[in-house]
């Protein structure tokens, strides 16, 4: 493997060539001018005079020219490349983002602009293609809603032992559509670069529990909230609410009859959902959050896309989804407000 080409090395090599060639030309010119021939060099005085002439007229001018040129060249290249290195660092710093990333060309040397602009055009096309893909998924989900409503209402009128099972199927399809739409929404928010706002996790938890309480009671389960003080993070309220809703719905499915699902908040930006189910190990959680990459998303836990979506929402907030199987808790950990940018 040869080393990748370097502009500075190339400049050094070019200057060495210029130096060498210049020295040779000067030697010839001086030789002709002072009629110095190789036969005179046997004489000691003539040799010293020749060396003296050469150092004065060849080595000195060369050194005076080449050394500052080399230094100036190095400096010009380094400062010319610096915006590129800075832009690379900025792009790396946004590693969590997959969309809307562009090379900032302000301060770019004009020679590097065409390349950066071409890269930005490609990134734009990729974003456009991704947006189109997501919009298509959202459109499909949207178009499915009306026929599914018809199906649901027709089933309601059906008095048949199988109808209940089919109603369950419709409910599952509905959940999948909701999750698809939610994913599209997260991406759309992200693409639109909506500014995050202060969100009180305790207040969000109260809202979501209030919405889900009728469903929990229907299944003979209880909900409780342990959040007496506001816990403020920066983010998108609806997305955080959706993440929490997914966790609570999972907990309700995992809980034995008569069980209680408890949500608590903790200062510093933690939202935790505890149930009386078997708990989830870190490995299981990792598998479930990866499920969206595979086709068989109908997991035994019935989580579907749920945990993958929660993980994505947390990633968009610079936070994490964690599990504590001893505490039987799933935790949403947010970067504490003020610490985030």
């Amino acid at each position: 493997m040869s080393r990748p080409p370097s502009i500075i090395r190339r400049l050094t090599a070019s200057l060495a060539w210029v130096g060498g060639l210049g020295a040779l030309l000067l030697l010839i010119v001086i030789g002709i001018e002072y009629r110095i021939s190789f036969s005179n060099l046997g004489d000691h005085d003539a040799f010293v005079r020749a060396i003296h002439e050469l150092s004065e007229h060849v080595l000195l001018p060369m050194a005076v020219l080449i050394l500052p040129m080399a230094l100036a060249g190095r400096w010009a290249i380094k400062s010319g490349v610096r915006p590129l290195i800075e832009a690379a660092a900025q792009i790396d710093a946004r590693a969590g983002e997959t969309r809307g990333v562009r090379v900032d060309t302000t301060g770019f040397p004009i020679e590097a602009r065409p390349f950066a602009d071409a890269i930005n055009r490609v990134l734009g096309r990729i974003d456009g293609a991704a947006a189109l893909h997501e919009a298509f998924a959202a459109d499909i989900a949207h178009e499915l809603r009306t026929p599914l409503t018809l199906l649901s209402l027709e089933l309601d009128r059906l008095d048949h032992p199988d109808a209940e099972r089919m109603r369950g199927d419709v409910a599952r399809m509905r959940r999948l559509i909701d999750q698809l739409m939610l994913l599209a929404q997260i991406d759309a928010d992200h693409a639109a670069q909506i500014a995050p706002m202060p969100v009180d996790l305790s207040d969000v938890a109260g809202d979501v529990l209030a919405q889900l309480a009728p469903i929990a009671l229907d299944r003979g389960l209880r909900l409780a909230l342990e959040a007496d003080v506001p816990v403020v993070v920066t983010g998108r309220r609806e997305a955080i609410g959706a993440a929490l809703r997914n966790l609570i719905e999972n907990a309700l499915r995992a809980s034995p009859a008569g069980g209680c699902v408890t949500v608590r908040t903790e200062a510093g930006g933690l939202l935790a959902v505890r149930d009386e189910g078997p708990g989830l190990s870190a490995d299981q959680l990792a598998t479930l959050t990866q499920r969206h990459r595979r086709a068989d998303h109908a997991s035994k836990h019935g989580a579907g896309l749920g945990l993958a979506i929660v993980e994505r929402i947390m990633r968009a907030h610079g936070g994490t989804l964690e599990t504590s199987s001893e505490a039987r808790e799933l935790r949403l950990r947010f970067p504490s407000a003020g610490a985030s940018d």
């Binding site: 949207h142 178009e143 809603r145 009306t146 599914l148 409503t149 018809l150 199906l151 649901s152 209402l153 027709e154 309601d156 009128r157 109603r167 419709v170 509905r174 559509i177 909701d178 739409m181 599209a184 929404q185 759309a188 109260g206 529990l209 209030a210 919405q211 309480a213 009728p214 009671l217 209880r222 909900l223 409780a224 909230l225 342990e226 959040a227 007496d228 609806e238 959706a242």
Partner: protein, 224 residues
Amino acid sequence: MARVLIIEDNERLAGLIADGLAAQGHVCDAVHTLAAAEDALAATSFDGIVLDLGLPDGDGVDWMRAQHGPRPPILVLTARDALEDRIKGLDAGADDYLPKPFAMSELAARLRALLRRPGGRQDAILSLGNLAFDPASQQVTVDAHPLDLTRREAALIELLLRRAGQVVRRAVIESSLYTFDEAVTPNAVEANISRLRRKLEEAGAALELHTIRGVGYMARVRGA
């Protein structure tokens, strides 16, 4: 019971909703365009509107925004579940919001809650199971037997009945039942709920008051 206008462009869906609501005792008119809805609203008065957002002759959100003066409460149906749309819809004057697909029982429950809200049919007697509440006299009856309640207990049960099937947040109860100069001890609401619960039980009411710890309270008919 109530007269409901259904504005939904899918005729089959409009028919199914009308049938379902008719089975709940409502009188329903189904129209398929906003123009037809205007005509219907000009001709008769309705107690509630079920509105689909995407209609052939306009957008439901814009239509709601253009409505001035008193109008019946609106329950919005939509295939758009995008959260922004939901907020936009509620801002434009929707009273509640139900994403498609939904079950008939859900739609009926939401509509019931809507008709019960203040500003809806305010003076109508609220009834749930074998319990009835007269907002004018603040009197609760169970199987037609009057129940002896304090003023605060009556106000509390009205609040819960108007949102039966939904959770009423503790902060909402505290702010509407207690004035500023009155100290609200953390247990004051819970104590009132317990007393109310006991009285309802003794009277044989089918109404249950659920506590969602840390969140609020919810009234539901037992077994519903």
